[in-house]
Symmetry: C2
């Protein structure tokens, strides 16, 4: 098997990642086949297998690709003040999602549920989660360092924010209800506002 980072031409890699995303939207994760992805990419299944031995290899590469996209999005906002970045990040995950985002989240939940039975998924999902934790902790740390936030533990605060967002997103996928909006507002009131409100009084 070829490693996607070293031997797949960048354009082919981008094409296949885009096709994987669309195939996950259309078919979900459990029912997804290499043929579905080949159809979306308008490539032959054998070409797909030239790059990736198995569906698992391809999906691990796809999860890795999501980190790269996350890094690009993070870089676009790095000049914003920490309080604004954190609020935008929370809103982005909870109230700015559209139907396509939720369809993708549905497929990702299926993949997550498979991770306890599949070390390759588990290990890559752990790398993705570590990227998110570092990203949010960096924002909180920047806010603390700038004196905008109270002197909280950046890592623990990031993990609370992410857990609440993850839980709300999962509830939305499973129950199709208004949890993201409700949890967004409660997270702002109970966690984000108090990070800044008491900054001068508490320090």
């Amino acid at each position: 098997m070829s490693d996607s980072d070293s031997s797949t031409a960048p354009e082919a890699h981008e094409d296949i990642m885009g096709a994987t995303y669309r195939a996950l939207l259309d078919h979900g994760f459990a029912a997804l086949t290499m043929q579905d992805i080949a159809d979306e990419a308008e490539k032959s299944k054998s070409l797909l297998h030239y790059h990736y031995d198995t569906k698992q290899d391809l999906l691990v590469a796809f999860l890795e690709h999501l980190i790269e996209r996350g890094k690009e999005r993070a870089a676009e906002h790095e000049d914003e003040p920490p309080a604004e970045r954190l609020r935008n990040f929370v809103a982005g995950g909870l109230v700015d999602s559209d139907d396509e985002d939720w369809a993708f989240a549905t497929a990702l939940l299926e993949l997550q549920a498979q991770a306890p039975y599949d070390d390759a998924y588990r290990e890559q999902l752990a790398r993705n989660e570590q990227f998110m934790r570092d990203h949010v902790a960096d924002i909180v740390r920047a806010g603390v360092d700038a004196g905008d936030f109270r002197d909280v533990d950046p890592d623990a605060t990031a993990r609370l924010v992410l857990a609440a967002m993850d839980g709300a997103r999962t509830e939305r996928v499973v129950l199709e209800d208004d949890t993201p909006e409700v949890v967004h507002d409660a997270l702002v009131e109970h966690v984000l506002d108090p990070l800044t409100v008491d900054a001068e009084g508490d320090e």
Copy 2:
């Protein structure tokens, strides 16, 4: 098919629910068969099918049974002060879980991931979630009414606490890491402590 509540003898119902729980621990959800549950119950598969037409019917009844168990547990603690009940509830879901609880959570995550494709699971999971939301909101409301907590919105606060707990539990199942402990401490620091600490000053 017989309705479990009206025509299954209570002992048989309890036996089958216990067998379903053990079969989920051993096999997970996706791989679970009626035969696995019959084996655990030491009953014939045809007897199981007499009570429940399908695996789906049985698992919906099992989810309903979890609400009954939740009610029993809630009743045991209803004389405790609200602040203590809330802390115990959060600790119960995050730091008091053992290996068996996490194996069960792994099977439940698989079932949750199936809900977007299965209305019967989705509707029953919504009833289970509503029970939990009402339960936690009742505790917060009791704390507000008693003057122990600040004047927060009980429902929104409950949903934030549950989302953070659900997210942390899912991360634990998927990644097998220390998220429940970290999120427990951060939830106490950022959400639970401030519910009480400022009660006198703020009201």
